[in-house]
């Protein structure tokens, strides 16, 4: 009996591969992937209609590119200059005009200034952290929508755990799985990281590992090895099918072990691997050699730029959620392009960070717009916080150089574009020193709610955690005014 709504601990609700295999006559081999996803979509459509249904912006996005600038970019130097503020606030950079009338940004973002007419610049991102002030806590807040206190009672940096709230991409790949045999959720070019803690706030948590992002762990700016995704010459599709049929038989003759291993979702992974290898789409999407040198250079011949280009290719192939993390670890050395500019701010921003961000992000917006991809793809660029408006003071307990800036979650900026979001608009405004929003504050949970809302996922819906307790998907309100 196919059970599409039943709960199951540690894996998922809906049709799992295991359930599909139970349906006697159809079996794994006779069932191609498009059918599989069709079923899930139908199961989803049958649920109660959302109160948001029909609202402007609702279900306007098919895919998401989340550009996560881990480390905390300095909003005042990049997106929200304050030329009239005192020198110890305004810093060294001059403002420049943008395509949004009356909106100026930092002088080291000249290309973005020309392409802001495709995006909305939010200048009122804001939240007050729940005790913790480190990157990991903030990243967790940004990407799961929940403060980390419930899962990190010690207040220390803690590695990802199966009790964590799921990261946004995992939620989306479960609630709105792709229709094509592609990787549903890809994280490039490396996971989130602060010190030795890798992937906190970036894992599937209580949804189970089957919803973790596909992490490439390679630098797209270098030749990428993806032999695992390319069907081997000595194993044509028919032979792979035979092998899977045999495998099903071998596993099937040890039912007690199957039951004991249920929670590891091994079959789910094997099913995905099978579909991916046979379709070859993911392999093609990650092959940047298929792009012209001119296009590659437009994005920038560095890890960040090429990751964005790969993100665009993945979106074209049907991947639902691509997250491009800033390549340096959150709390790294600013001189090696980490956004965490305690020790040095203006030099690194001018010479290292801004040129890469400026080129890459403007290229993505331009390219996706030209290809028509921006119509149904939501692009978000944001970090886990901004940086202290005042130079050389400590807000987080870290020490700062005289020209350094410390963590500042109370006010910062983000860029959102695509999926019908207003083109060339500024949303929200900060006060005279970019210390707090003057109007229309946007909490990270609101930003996530907006992402879900745009995909047609009701932000208020109830989900179940690993203990089968009801939880809100996110405790935020979609910023519907982004669609005008």
């Amino acid at each position: 009996m196919l059970n599409l709504q039943g709960h199951r601990a540690y894996t998922c609700e809906g049709a799992t591969r295991r359930e599909l295999m139970r349906i006697g006559s159809i079996g794994l081999m006779g069932l191609s992937l498009p059918h599989f996803f069709l079923w899930r979509d139908q199961a989803r459509a049958a649920s109660v209609p959302s109160k948001y249904a029909g609202a402007r912006g609702w279900e306007s996005a098919e895919n998401v590119v989340m550009i996560f600038l881990q480390g905390g970019p300095s909003h005042i130097d990049i997106w929200d200059p304050k030329p009239d503020a005192p020198a110890h606030v305004r810093g060294e950079f001059k403002p420049i005009k943008t395509k949004i009338p009356g909106t100026w940004i930092g002088e080291h973002m000249p290309m973005m200034a020309q392409h802001l007419d495709k995006a909305t610049l939010i200048r009122s991102m804001s939240y007050t952290p729940n005790g913790l002030f480190n990157h990991t806590a903030a990243i967790y807040q940004m990407l799961t929508g929940y403060p980390p206190d419930k899962v990190s009672p010690s207040g220390q940096l803690e590695p990802p755990s199966p009790a964590d709230f799921p990261t946004a991409g995992s939620q989306v790949s479960k609630l709105k799985p792709p229709k094509e045999p592609v990787l549903p959720f890809v994280e490039l070019p490396r996971p989130l990281q602060e010190s030795g803690i890798i992937g906190k706030g970036g894992s599937a948590g209580f949804l189970g590992k089957a919803y973790d992002p596909y992490r490439m762990y390679q630098d797209p700016a270098k030749p990428v090895k993806l032999e695992d995704l390319l069907l081997r010459k000595d194993v044509p599709p028919e032979r792979l099918k035979d092998r899977f049929e045999l495998l099903k038989g071998v596993n099937g003759s040890m039912p007690a072990l199957e039951k004991a291993l249920n929670e590891y979702a091994v079959d789910e992974y094997y099913g995905k691997a099978y579909d991916l290898v046979l379709s070859g789409k993911a392999r093609d999407a990650m092959d940047l050699e298929k792009e012209s040198p001119k296009m590659r250079e437009r994005y920038g011949m560095h890890t960040f730029g090429q990751s964005l280009l790969m993100a665009r290719r993945l979106i074209e192939a049907g991947t639902r959620f691509v997250q491009v993390n800033w390549p340096s670890v959150a709390n790294g050395d600013p001189e090696t392009t980490a956004w965490d500019t305690h020790a040095a701010n203006f030099g690194p921003l001018k010479n290292l960070h801004c040129p890469k961000l400026d080129r890459g992000l403007s290229a993505l917006l331009e390219d996706m717009d030209q290809r028509g991809l921006l119509k149904h793809t939501l692009v978000v660029a944001v970090g886990e916080f901004g940086r202290s408006p005042r130079l050389g003071v400590s807000t987080s307990g870290n020490s700062n150089s005289p020209d350094g800036r410390d963590h500042w979650p109370y006010c910062y900026s983000s860029v959102v574009a695509g999926a019908g979001i207003a083109r060339g608009m500024q949303y929200g405004e900060s006060d005279a020193t970019a210390s707090s929003p003057k109007e229309k504050p946007v909490h990270p949970a609101d930003l996530l709610a907006t992402v879900y809302f745009s995909l047609g996922i009701d932000p208020d819906m109830e989900i179940r955690n690993h203990l089968n307790q009801p939880r809100e998907l996110v405790k935020g309100k979609p910023v519907a005014d982004l669609w005008t």
Binding site: P153, S154, P159, L183, G196, K209, D212, Y214, R215, Y217, Q218, K225, E227, D228, L229, L230, L231, R232, D234, V235, R239, L240, D242, R243, L246, L247, G249, V250, N251, S253, M254, A256, L257, E258, K259, A260, L261, Y264, A265, V266, Y269, Y270, K272, A273, Y274, L276, V277
Partner: protein, 286 residues
């Protein structure tokens, strides 16, 4: 050192939250020696407990205090009496690890089946049933080589060096071993080793070189079996023994023989071995 408030000279003391105070010698230079000696002695109540817990976790995939590197008051053992007994066993036998392992391996807890009933199916903390766990990266790679009769090939090490014999975690980097969670030995935390299952791992097992090359090895088990001219039933038997350390059940044998006779025998035997090496019975310790 003088007390910052009242100025009296404070006697040196080791900062150890223990009922058994650490003797501090008067001679400055010997303090470190004394501390080192105490650290690994029977007087240190933490050392033996941590070792016992750690060794236990190697057999069960989970510590009595878990994670094993997170021993603190607010992360208590799931079974204090058990941990105490193991600690005592280790101390009574003068830190003899082999003895401790023998104790553990002979225990009923270690020998319980992974099969569960309605009362213990949700238990993960109390060792009421065995919990299958994936072979570690090196174990898995060596097991594939051994079952397929293929020879491991790592650059810059003597021929036939096994994955578990590699001294440097950078040998074979970004390959099979790293995908399966081999630690880089950057920290002393057990958590550096990952034993979860992921999509890249499935891709590697299904379509990567390690298993596919091993089953097709021209000097490997399948090649030898085919050359030996043995019966299909004997080939199936041999492959089951090599991969799962057991004979095939009659219906398994029947299915295998039927498959072998359905086409080119060599490639069909490779397929069967491929399936066995990808099966849960092979990937997991249970």
């Amino acid at each position: 050192m003088k007390h910052p408030k009242d100025g009296h000279v404070v006697k040196p003391q080791f900062m150890v939250a223990s009922n058994a105070p650490v003797p501090v010698p008067d001679d400055d230079r010997r303090r470190r020696d004394a501390f080192a000696q105490w650290l690994t002695s029977k007087d240190n109540p933490f050392f033996a407990k941590a070792i016992a817990n750690r060794v236990w976790s190697y057999f069960f995939g989970r510590g009595i205090i878990d994670p094993v590197d997170d021993i603190r008051a607010s992360n208590p053992p799931s079974n204090p009496a058990l941990l105490e007994a193991l600690t005592k066993d280790l101390l009574d036998n003068n830190f003899d690890l082999q003895h401790l392992m023998r104790t553990i391996a002979n225990s009923r807890a270690y020998q319980t089946s992974f099969a569960t009933n309605e009362w213990n199916q949700n238990d993960r903390d109390n060792f009421s049933h065995a919990m299958p766990r994936r072979l570690s990266a090196e174990e898995l790679m060596d097991a594939v080589s051994s079952a397929a009769g293929a020879r491991p090939r790592f650059p810059e090490v003597p021929e036939d060096t096994k994955a578990s014999q590699l001294v440097d975690p950078h040998i074979g980097k970004e390959g099979f071993l790293d995908v399966f969670g081999r630690p880089l030995r950057e920290s002393s935390c057990e958590c550096e080793r990952r034993s979860d299952f992921s999509l890249p791992q499935a891709l590697n097992l299904v379509n990567g070189r390690t298993i596919s090359d091993a089953v097709a090895d021209s000097k490997g088990r399948v090649a030898k079996l085919i050359l030996s001219g043995r019966s299909d039933a004997a080939i199936v038997e041999d492959l089951y023994l090599a991969a799962l350390s057991r004979l095939p059940a009659p219906e398994e044998s029947g299915r295998g023989v039927k498959y072998l006779s359905g086409g080119a025998k060599a490639s069909r035997a490779q397929d069967l071995l491929w399936a066995l090496l990808n099966s849960k019975g092979f990937l997991y310790i249970y």
